[in-house]
Symmetry: C2
Subunit: 355 residues, 2 copies
Amino acid sequence: MRLKALKKNLVKKGKLPYLITDLVNIRYCTGFSGSYGCLLVDGERTYFISDSRYEEYARSLLGDDVTFVLQKKSLPEALKKLLGGIGAQRLNLEEHNLPLSMFMQLKKELPDTELLPAGDEVNLLRMCKDDSEIELIRKAVRIADDCFRHILRIIKPGVREWDIYVEIDYFYKKNGCRRTSFDSIVASGKSSSMPHYSTSMTKRVNSGDIVMIDMGCEYEGYNSDLTRTVFVNSVDAEFKNIYTTVREAQERALSVIRPGISAGSCDGTARRIIKDAGYGGAFGHSLGHGVGLEVHELPALKSGGTAKLKKNMVITVEPGIYLPEKGGVRIEDMVLVTDNGVEILTESPKELFIL
Amino acid sequence: MRLKALKKNLVKKGKLPYLITDLVNIRYCTGFSGSYGCLLVDGERTYFISDSRYEEYARSLLGDDVTFVLQKKSLPEALKKLLGGIGAQRLNLEEHNLPLSMFMQLKKELPDTELLPAGDEVNLLRMCKDDSEIELIRKAVRIADDCFRHILRIIKPGVREWDIYVEIDYFYKKNGCRRTSFDSIVASGKSSSMPHYSTSMTKRVNSGDIVMIDMGCEYEGYNSDLTRTVFVNSVDAEFKNIYTTVREAQERALSVIRPGISAGSCDGTARRIIKDAGYGGAFGHSLGHGVGLEVHELPALKSGGTAKLKKNMVITVEPGIYLPEKGGVRIEDMVLVTDNGVEILTESPKELFIL
């Protein structure tokens, strides 16, 4: 199904044969989740090239419309034979992840083939999820929600950020996640003002601290992404106001998301609320991003983003306000774009929590 | 120190200015462990380019000999200004990890600059470890040894491969590792014949099973890699013989490793023992690899490898024999190349264990 949709696009755009080297894109098209291989999509057939380690696995996996090709020496050599057989004079490439060294090898081995950077066709296709993908994403989101409920119990003065990090990790793995979507962020006190904080192994949560937690898990290849910000014992008036502002910014953004709206417009809606509340410079990242086989994928919900949202996109909506040397608040949900709005997938509560 | 050594090499080879885009190489040269930036090494000075998110962190980290350059629009634009200021007409690049799309952007933005793929100079330098690196690697190896001792207690009939995977993960994190070096492999029974097995969430260990465990952890950026193969309740004569053969192959390889020997020769020593025992086709991967900031780095101890081993390289020695539909045995240690031989860093026992 996915390969068929891809081929249709490639035919329309005159981009055959098309070489897929991004392993996530290969997984999307074929189900193959090994660490080495590439996929050559042509009008007539599709070829999956890999080495002997993956032959048995790949053959058992690939449908009737994909031929397994055993790479004996090198990828360029295998491709050369294949392209010769097809009689192709050009090869369309995914330039976003092809290392320059591999491009140079291809150029050398295929001197008579025109190599054309052809854009991220599979990544574009991946933006809208099919039913089976939405099911797996729902499951990944549910595990993250369960995990957040679980760790709420251990956030208290004296606990290390690291203890919370380890517990998140353990919960995810015990509940069937092969890996986390990224290194979880547990940022307490002033550290919560740094959106790219690296969780400390020594720092302890204090009474009066903000604790911001950004955590996601991978379930059967699909990711989730969840941020909540809670307060320990107390919250001051400024951060109470900031929390309310971030929450309102998120709610307003959620209220405008629907098919046809531009990514930049969604970002702008949230950004305006934050600016109007007097925190214009304090929301330094974009509103959100697509989530699927990768935790960060297209579309980018960023300032000026022209991509139009479509039904069955799964995106994050995560405004934040960060005050250096004071702290930060971010609230992040995952949502599914529906026929005429959104379904909020994340179920973790968003009231201001004082633990 | 590391930058100085690199610059010396680059001057000798006429490769200045040299652009480092591999984040691991940047970490090696500067200590910067963020997710975005590049390093331009020139004769006079070195420039670290990153965006505003990392400005404060980078400035606090970089020594006097490195200038922080704030990227305002794009990397090519920042580079253009910088190269204009230096008066450089050529730019040496790390082709192994530069995406073709970035190369194309650089070409477009710097039409008058010659862009030269210049080889992996930092990766070559990283092969020999300095004292501080060896200390961190020792620590990562020690944690893996402790973890192996810990999980030996839970390997028994009825336990899921996944339970062991989760426990390895939890032990590593609790003991100060931010992440594992790779998804741990816990392969029981026939599955142990697949060197790239993905640990099952449902499969349980049975009496009479082989259990092969390949597990590594990252400690303050440095990795470890450890494989042991144990037997549950019993071992048959064939696998007892295989185990003895793999162990002998490893010991013979360890006995020849010293500065000056070629990587291919080490591999050949182990391979010959395995072939002579009648398992010539059953050792399908190479003998080992370097370990440091990455769990797989140079040198490659592979058949025909011409790289010469040097003092202070840290490598794995991991022969194996794999019989499809039956099972496999691999024994992997990490070793440090010394003045006249090796120091085996791994301390986990290698006797045949029947649990």
